[in-house]
Symmetry: C2
């Protein structure tokens, strides 16, 4: 039984090119209009519109959106101590890693002219956490902890309620353990609009982070510019580059851990070993049977799974860079010799014990990662997402004097004599500054 | 004669709130559809579509889009040595400043588990430089130099041609002096689409930077996700916070240097000195008369200029943060005592000799800055815009073992037993790895 589609590179170059071209985010979508209508409704009608869409899409009529202390207490009563213990370890590791990303203000002198860069945290951030039946406490940790590590004072979580109007207790406990008390029962495009513009009871934020479904993603794109957003998330992906030293059972398990997310999830193995490819395929068939989410994983593996045979690992790394995977596992004999060749990847898992799920929960680095080939230009969610910089310029008179002719020259050439005057006036006598 | 509208804070709080709420980027615009049509046309029909829109909007039928060596030579013959000398000083200062923004890879160990962050430059970047009659060599410097400083190998410039099919010679010379040979004669939404998707002769880029008109801005928003973009630029702004120590003539000149850009440009003075406010107003009337771009500046000052009287400088800094200006001048007796209060500003000009035009050309920091209040969450263009990060995770067996129960617990709780299996399989005997 052949589970994964097999191609060879460079032989099947054309087909691989087509696959690569088909990934990524479309400029517009037939759902864009609906999403824009929802956003404008929330902008114009505030909370009332949010409640209307919550009734329509989440199937629950709510009176208020803020999660109460009572609800937090209920949540703590429902989750086990084991969960809280694992959650806390996750929070510690994620916090430690992200604190290392923090940066310093700096300034420099050139003669007596000072320039520099000031780092400040954003004031208020909203984290979107998917909801419904599943629990996503790890999404809370991965979006909230970097924001708090960066120094953001106000972090709020939004998550869609279930049909009883509740947010998953694991999500709530994760929020409180991470350090967030302000949680709203809203989801979809209406949640994004409420965060961007604010409503009667929800104060607008400066940035919205966290992945959601396509409506959430389109809404994030729409409000980009009003607020900042982290990225436009697409289906999750793993790409494994392995030579004959790879363990077929580990590789199959890691591919399936991706495939079980979503029928659209993409799992790819690139290898120079035909034997490994065959063994992985067999293992996939075996392991698929035992999965709870067998149907999702099977569809994903059959429709979006791919094994690419390459002549050597060097050709493999070229393909990795073209693919620019969200998750990348490097399973070769000398991974640190290959690592410098990898230009485009969200998170790089090195060696046989760095299974991708390790990065989803506990390792420390973020699991919110660029998808759809955007690792060419985008990064894992990190503390830089929660700060902004200001340049500073402090010139003394003699410093300005030393380059005033150059400024005047360039300004006049650009047709901006007001710019030139602003410099000239500082070196000409006049009634005020004598 | 009263030139600038005057308000008091907190007295006119309501009016100031309305002004602040009216800034920023709208989610949709009546021009969005036209822009999306152009983009899709370029996506589907490539160069032919680009040439069609160039004929329609720029009024010139071109055979090819790439600027030739001949055209570069002509440009060098047209510009003076003085220009090249000033340009070179600008390039040196901008390069020196931006090189200080560069960052290092890092890694850390927790027991024997390694995690870290790798920095890589983007592969290919496109810089949009406005064109038409005016010359914008400084836009070339400010977009190209940070990209090259960050290590980007391929930087291309696009700029709309004039009716003779030429790009401004100052722009061309600036491109070559900055280090760019690949310049295309394209502008508007069609230029953004060509950069995002590539055409028969233009290779697509990973990121598009540089400000343009509203069509360029809407197009950048549309292709965001396909490629990265720097920001959505709006009208330019300066806000000056001054006490009685401020020089009214310098302040008026700096306000006018903003106002001459565009009737929509915004120039604001916040002061606790009524006397200073009056003197600035008089100076504005005087200085306006002498400007070449008098009409633009007058419209801008009358319609979008504003003096706000505050009780004290502390109240003034609160307003600065709410305004989040693109350019901010801090003209008070002890500027470095006030500086820590300033959370939101693109570039901060400190002291009487740090006139805003200094930052436009020569000081070193970037002049591509967040407008419309987006300094709440956005930064000056900087080398971080031209790199991306990858996380690395390298766990040994014992490191994974120490947290495997936590991963399994969290994965199963999220309903992802495939994730749990990927960890379990590494600690269970099986046919392959014994």
């Amino acid at each position: 039984m052949i589970v994964m589609r097999k191609l060879s590179y460079p032989r099947d170059r054309g087909e691989i090119n087509n696959l690569l071209a088909g990934r990524g985010f479309a400029v517009a979508d037939e759902r864009t209009e609906l999403v824009n209508d929802i956003i404008n409704d929330v902008l114009n009608n505030g909370e009332q519109a949010v409640l209307k869409y919550t009734a329509r899409f989440d199937g629950i009529e709510l009176d208020g959106l803020l999660v109460s202390d009572e609800e937090f207490k209920d949540a703590y009563n429902k989750v086990g101590d084991d969960f809280i213990s694992s959650l806390k370890k996750s929070i510690v590791n994620v916090r430690e890693f992200h604190r290392k990303q923090l940066r310093q203000n700096w300034f420099t002198y050139k003669n007596s002219a000072m320039t520099g860069q000031i780092i400040k945290p954003l004031a208020r951030v909203g984290a979107y956490v998917p909801g419904g039946r599943a629990a996503y406490p790890s999404s809370v940790v991965m979006t909230v902890i970097p924001a708090l590590a960066a120094g953001v004072k106000e972090v709020v979580v939004v998550s869609p309620p279930d049909k009883e109007g509740r947010i998953n207790p694991y999500t709530l406990v994760a929020a409180r353990e991470a350090g967030v008390d302000e949680v709203y029962k809203i989801g979809g495009a209406q949640a994004i609009a409420a965060l961007a513009y604010g409503t009667e009871t929800i104060k607008g934020v400066d940035k919205i982070v966290g992945p959601g479904n396509i409506y959430v993603t389109l809404a994030k794109k729409a409000v980009f510019g009003v607020v900042d957003i982290d990225m436009l998330a697409g289906p999750s992906e793993v790409l494994i580059l392995a030579d004959s030293s790879g363990h077929p059972d580990y590789i199959a398990a890691d591919l399936l851990s991706q495939a079980e997310h979503d029928p659209l999830a993409i799992s790819v193995l690139i290898t120079d070993s035909e034997l490994l490819a065959e063994k992985v395929d067999k293992e996939l068939a075996l392991q698929l049977k035992g999965l709870n989410r067998k149907e999702i994983a099977t569809t994903s593996i059959n429709e979006n799974g791919l094994i690419i045979l390459v002549d050597d690992i060097k050709a493999g790394s070229e393909l990795v860079n073209r693919f620019a995977p969200e998750h990348f596992e490097l399973l070769v004999k000398e991974p640190f010799a290959i690592l410098p060749e990898i230009d485009n990847a969200g998170a790089i898992f090195i060696g046989e014990y760095s299974s991708e799920p390790l990065g989803d929960y506990l390792a420390g680095p973020n699991h919110v990662l660029p998808t759809g080939g955007t690792a060419r230009f985008a990064s894992p969610l990190n503390t830089d997402d929660f700060i902004k910089k200001s340049s500073i310029i402090y010139y003394q008179k003699k410093d300005l004097a030393s380059i005033s002719d150059d400024i005047i020259q360039l300004a006049e050439l650009e047709g901006l004599d007001g710019h030139a005057n602003a410099v000239k006036i500082r070196f000409e006598g006049n009634e005020f500054n004598d």
